[in-house]
Symmetry: C2
Subunit: 156 residues, 2 copies
DNA sequence: CGCAAAATGCAAATATGTTGCAAAAAGAAT
DNA sequence: ATTCTTTTTGCAACATATTTGCATTTTGCG
């Protein structure tokens, strides 16, 4: 083993799995993902590393130190998705929401919970739902996503 | 028992369950849902009854005989949602997709499958996934939704 | 440093959904 | 059927979210 221990998570990349540590320094992650290390990418990745819930373009941009064009934010996120660093997740709002592709199990990320009262979205990182079992022949599952609506502890 | 047998399905309506038969004639359904029977509503409901997958506003409109304004289509769908006849479902595309609120189990509808190759979305009406069990104290589940991505039988 | 490829900013375009208001249609009462 | 009230509809404008084309800048590499 070389270097300090890092938490290893599984990331799904276009058809196969790789092991990757998304809690390393943003710069390192970019290099090992084969992405050019630009200021914007480093910052966006850092925002996502600190995020406690899926964020949309506007929320990400608001947390940046530098001014990045919104087009650039979208393009950066798309490059992260292609590299397998980021997922789009499944929330009630119209805007796409993005999240680091960590805290994932094989073929699925954790579920997301949206409160119908206060409208907050929470990551249920420790909640586990098995993969569907009785799917008909011929289907190949690449990813399963779960979304739950209801009342959060604050509102119930 | 009065009248011919109808398939009874469960529909989730704002906090409690009702039994309703969504394969009756569209006109009847509107009446029993307390909605005015307008030409547009009848047609939209019929389109949804025949649909084999979730449809968006544009797809619904394209299947109508009469010309309906897109605002009207959206408002009609919203009234169906309020009446518990229709759900919005979650697909990969940006546009909202709508589906009759049948083939549902308590607190959840069937999963939807989107093929990453041909981009088609299919209803997995007979696929069952249990409700999450290990959700922390304080959360109240009102609805669980599942989305699966992968290769469909045509593409695998 | 100098080059080629990739990333960025900006303006415009596109896609999707909502709002306000006036006109039309539906249902109830007569 | 006629009248009345309420709901629904169409239309234009607005709002929001995302994408595209193209010129400019930056990056990584030799
Ligand atoms: Mn999450
Ligand atoms: Mn369906
Ligand atoms: Zn809440
Ligand atoms: Zn397919």
């Amino acid at each position: 083993m070389d270097g300090p221990p890092v938490k290893i998570v599984s990331i799904y990349i276009t058809g196969f799995y790789v092991k990757k540590a998304l809690n390393r320094a943003a710069k390192e992650i970019l290099v090992s993902a084969g992405l050019r290390r630009t200021g914007g990418r480093v910052e966006i990745l850092e925002v996502l590393q600190q995020a406690k819930m899926p964020l949309n373009q506007e929320e990400i941009q608001a947390q940046l130190d530098r001014d990045l064009n919104r087009t650039t934010v979208y393009r950066t996120l798309e490059s992260f998705i292609q590299a397998g660093l980021v997922h789009r997740c499944f929330v009630r709002e119209r805007a796409w929401h993005y999240e680091l592709a960590h805290n994932c199990r094989p073929l699925q990320c954790h579920p997301h919970f949206t409160c119908t009262n206060c409208d907050r979205t929470l990551c249920l990182k420790d909640v586990f739902l098995p993969l569907v079992k009785d799917i008909p022949d011929g289907f190949i599952i690449q990813r399963q996503q779960v979304r739950i609506e209801g009342l959060c502890p604050n509102c119930s």
